[in-house]
Symmetry: C2
Subunit: 130 residues, 2 copies
DNA sequence: ATTTGTTTACGAAGATATTCGTATATTCAT
DNA sequence: ATGAATATACGAATATCTTCGTAAACAAAT
């Protein structure tokens, strides 16, 4: 099964670490922890432990060739986003993606450029459906 | 603090029950359980327990005037949707609502009517921004 | 009134997530 | 080589969620 097909369910803590790894690319525990500390207070071994567990679960891969291991996300940000979004649409928005879209647009200021991008995308979808 | 301001975090099981209560309105444990059974196998006392806990947490209110208690959601569906969506935008989509919107539109077939509705809504937003 | 069925209350077991102390191993500077 | 700093490994405590068995309260039927 490819990465795209995996159905993953990172916990809150795991998601925080994934975000850092997506942002930074492959990193050591220390590097991840230093970023994490800024938004959360946790001990170093806590971060280490979670990353080890994530590795066991297959969420992270690690390079142990040097003493200081280097971890990297196995799952892509996009796939994770899609999975979590799909689940939210299903369980929170009764399966209606457009209901979610309307909520999202209503409660967040989007720039005119972003709105245009969305409209252009809608046009594209409509064309394809014809 | 009003209902709108509460920051709630229902668990998976709690969300399932909330959905049923939003759909049905105030209901007994038995009524909720019978719906729940269709999508999940769980014992009656399990459903009861979760609803009792939800009541303790303030997620549900209950009417104990008759022997068979009647439970109702304290939080509205819309507020819950907004809260969970906000959190997802923040933690999964790096704060970009439009990024989420594009994902949602891309991965779900929406009907032409729904797409039109979204476009109309976008037009409205743009007008307001002028 | 006794039985039968339904409901709530209580408590505890099992599962998972989170946290961290401590031990062990490794590296590096002296 | 010895000591200081840093890394990993391990295990356990704590918290939360989920599940359900059992008991007690209550209601309805016979």
């Amino acid at each position: 099964m490819s990465t795209a097909g995996k159905h993953i369910k990172p916990t809150e803590s795991e998601l925080e670490i994934l975000r850092i790894l997506w942002e930074r690319g492959p990193s050591t525990v220390r590097e991840v922890h230093e970023v994490l500390e800024k938004i959360k207070d946790a001990g170093y071994t806590t971060t280490l432990k979670i990353m080890q567990i994530m590795h066991e679960k297959g969420l992270l891969q690690r390079d142990t060739s040097s003493k200081t291991h280097i971890y990297a996300a196995v799952v892509s940000q996009e796939n994770t986003q899609r999975q979590l979004l799909d689940k939210m649409i299903d369980t929170v928005f009764n399966g209606s993606a457009s209901q979610l879209v309307l909520q999202a647009l209503g409660n967040h200021k989007s720039s005119p450029e972003e709105l245009e991008k969305i409209k252009a995308y809608l046009d594209e979808i409509e064309k394809q459906q014809k």
